[in-house]
């Protein structure tokens, strides 16, 4: 089936499973993306992975985005791939700064474990039911979230200590 039919089939199946999950869809340069409701993300992902027609079994990427607006400041973007259809799909979820929780999809795809840790490290988005939510790149006692738009590029002086130069 061509891309148009596939997109309609995906939207139809998701609507059958969880009726109010999809907020909007978008297509740009041949890539299809869905904006989903935060509460239904695990259910929709399970459907996409286990449905025998789709089989989106490879989760390529989970990343956070900081839009720096007043409403729905952050969003989490998932890229999933199906070997059977050779098709890539993008799922987006909006997160507001007052309620920085998203359900973790590491129960659906195990590879999302480290990607979600990185999103937590860089943005501060907390993933519910994550098996091991620690910081990924920055030291464990670092207090800020580097990829937020208000964090300066050169860092905050004194946030990370250096060893001393003289002989002890």
């Amino acid at each position: 089936m061509n891309n148009q039919e596939l997109q309609e089939l995906i939207v139809k199946k998701i609507k059958e499973n969880s009726p109010d999950a999809i907020i909007s869809t978008n297509e740009y340069r041949g890539e299809f993306s869905l904006l989903l409701n935060k509460a239904n993300i695990v259910q929709v992902c399970k459907l996409l992975k286990e449905d025998p027609e789709f089989q989106f079994i490879l989760c390529e990427d989970v990343s956070g985005v900081d839009w720096a607006r007043r409403k729905n400041r952050f969003s989490v973007v998932y890229h999933i791939f199906s070997f059977k259809l050779r098709y890539r799909l993008r799922l987006k979820v909006d997160v507001d700064e007052s309620d920085l929780n998203v359900d973790s999809v590491s129960s659906v795809w195990e590879t999302a474990n480290w990607h979600e840790r990185e999103a937590y490290d860089m943005f501060g988005i907390i993933f519910n039911n994550h098996p091991d939510l620690r910081r990924m790149y920055m030291p464990e006692d670092f207090e800020y979230y580097p990829l937020r738009k208000e964090f300066p590029l050169m860092g905050i002086p004194g946030s990370q200590p250096l060893p001393k130069k003289e002989r002890t």
Binding site: Y28, I57, E60, V77, R86, R135, Y137, E140, L153
Partner: protein, 417 residues
């Protein structure tokens, strides 16, 4: 040897390692087990990777890898510089095969901007990417052999790699970290000497690779150290997110050059090697086979290369030629605008992935119409491949850790971004 102190290992790592909440710090003694730190500075960990191991005698019970020792802040820097200024940074991602990252980045930005490079530039890019693949696999085979104990193989594969670096030196002036591609094409045309040298290289390469194989394939110590070690099944590999040679060694014949074709790979005839065992020995054999296939690809590309431009002629998105900048007015203005304010692609977001020697390298770019990207995410294959380490080394001995890490082939510049 200094005793490990409490502030060297953060309590949350100990908690993950022991699997439960407790007040145990690294200075206390466990009942029958020991916590060992295979630290960031280690001869055999392929860069600055830290593994905190929990051992029962010499068998590994649990492992927690810690990354971040080479985190340079690429994604934040990309939000503050234009698309052209970021090209040298992509060299340093997977620093063993720098040309492959350059081509991946150029393809991603061209997709955002909506332009396409001319055919000769695409063929030159293909040749360069396959040479980078050979160079990366040579280093991987050499360092795997060196870690397992066969030191001569490392020097022989580095000797072959020096020939590839000579080709790149003639082509663009730098041995290494070349920054050769531009948005809209490549920096300069491939000189006839470079093409002749590349053709000579692929003709004499299979025999030298045979010599290396003769040293290793019949060597009982090498085979027994790698056979059956670090085995992973196909479902586990897909669950953990493997792509590239690590996934093809478990039996799934999946290659992005054939599944979602880019450049001109559809016109080139090459096989995709696959093995089904999924252990370290299968990954080693797979990389050797891929080197041979890449040599065949380079030979075909050099024969089929068309004549023509090597950079696109579209002044609003691509830097104009130097001769025109000095003589014409519009080109001068376009050059000024592109260098200072960026190429301003239309608003939107894309994800573009290519088949790198280590796996699938993907770039997710969100553009708001400015010269700088709003969000630039790098999907690095080494970080995802490293996620499997704690699962792969359970139950093995310490000396197997070195073989397993070598066969997964991570590069920390990419894993830490």
């Amino acid at each position: 040897m200094e005793k490990l102190r409490k502030e060297d290992v953060h309590p949350s790592i100990i908690k993950t390692l022991l699997g439960k909440d407790s007040n145990i710090t690294v200075e206390d003694a466990l009942d029958n087990e020991m916590i060992l730190n295979m630290g960031p500075q280690h001869p055999a960990t392929h860069g600055v990777l830290r593994l905190v191991l929990r051992l029962d005698g010499e068998t590994i019970v649990a492992c927690v890898p810690e990354l971040g020792y080479l985190h340079r802040g690429y994604e934040k820097m990309a939000e503050n510089m234009t698309y052209m200024e970021f090209i040298p940074h992509t060299d340093r991602l997977d620093y063993i095969a720098p040309m492959a990252n350059n081509v991946a980045y150029a393809l991603a930005v061209e997709k955002v901007a909506g332009i396409e490079a001319p055919p000769r530039a695409q063929y030159i890019r293909m040749m360069v990417v396959e040479l980078a693949r050979i160079a990366s696999h040579l280093v991987s085979i050499g360092s795997l052999a060196m870690d397992v104990g066969a030191l001569t193989v490392f020097l022989w594969t580095l000797r072959e790699r020096e020939k590839i670096l000579d080709i790149w030196d003639i082509l663009c002036g730098a041995r290494f970290t070349n920054t050769y591609t531009r948005i809209g094409g490549v920096a300069n045309d491939a000189q006839p000497e470079a093409l002749k040298l590349a053709k000579w290289f692929v003709e004499q390469f299979p025999e030298n690779l045979d010599e290396v194989e003769k040293l290793l394939n019949g060597n009982r110590i090498f085979v027994e150290r790698l056979d059956g070690v670090g085995r992973i099944s196909q479902e586990d590999a897909i669950k953990i997110g493997f792509t590239g040679p690590n996934l093809r060694a478990t039996g799934l014949e999946f290659d992005l050059r054939r599944a979602t074709p880019y450049l001109f790979y559809n016109d080139i005839d090459f096989k995709i090697p696959t093995y089904t065992e999924g252990d370290c020995l299968a990954r080693y054999f797979l990389r050797v086979d891929e080197c041979r296939e890449s040599a065949k690809i380079v030979a075909q590309v050099i024969d089929k290369m068309p004549a023509g431009d090597t950079i696109l002629n579209q002044p609003k998105r691509v830097l104009p030629r130097k001769t025109e900048i000095y003589t014409k007015m519009e080109e001068l203005i376009h050059d000024f605008m592109i260098v200072n304010f960026g190429i301003n692609p239309p608003e939107g977001e894309i994800y573009s992935a290519v088949e790198n020697p280590k796996g699938e390298l993907g770039f997710y770019i969100i553009s708001k119409g400015d010269g700088n990207p709003w969000r630039f995410k790098i999907r690095s294959p080494s970080m995802v491949n490293l996620q499997a380490i704690s699962q792969l080394i359970k139950g093995h001995l310490i000396s197997d850790v070195v073989a397993i890490v070598g066969s997964i082939d991570p590069i920390m510049g990419e894993a830490d971004k």
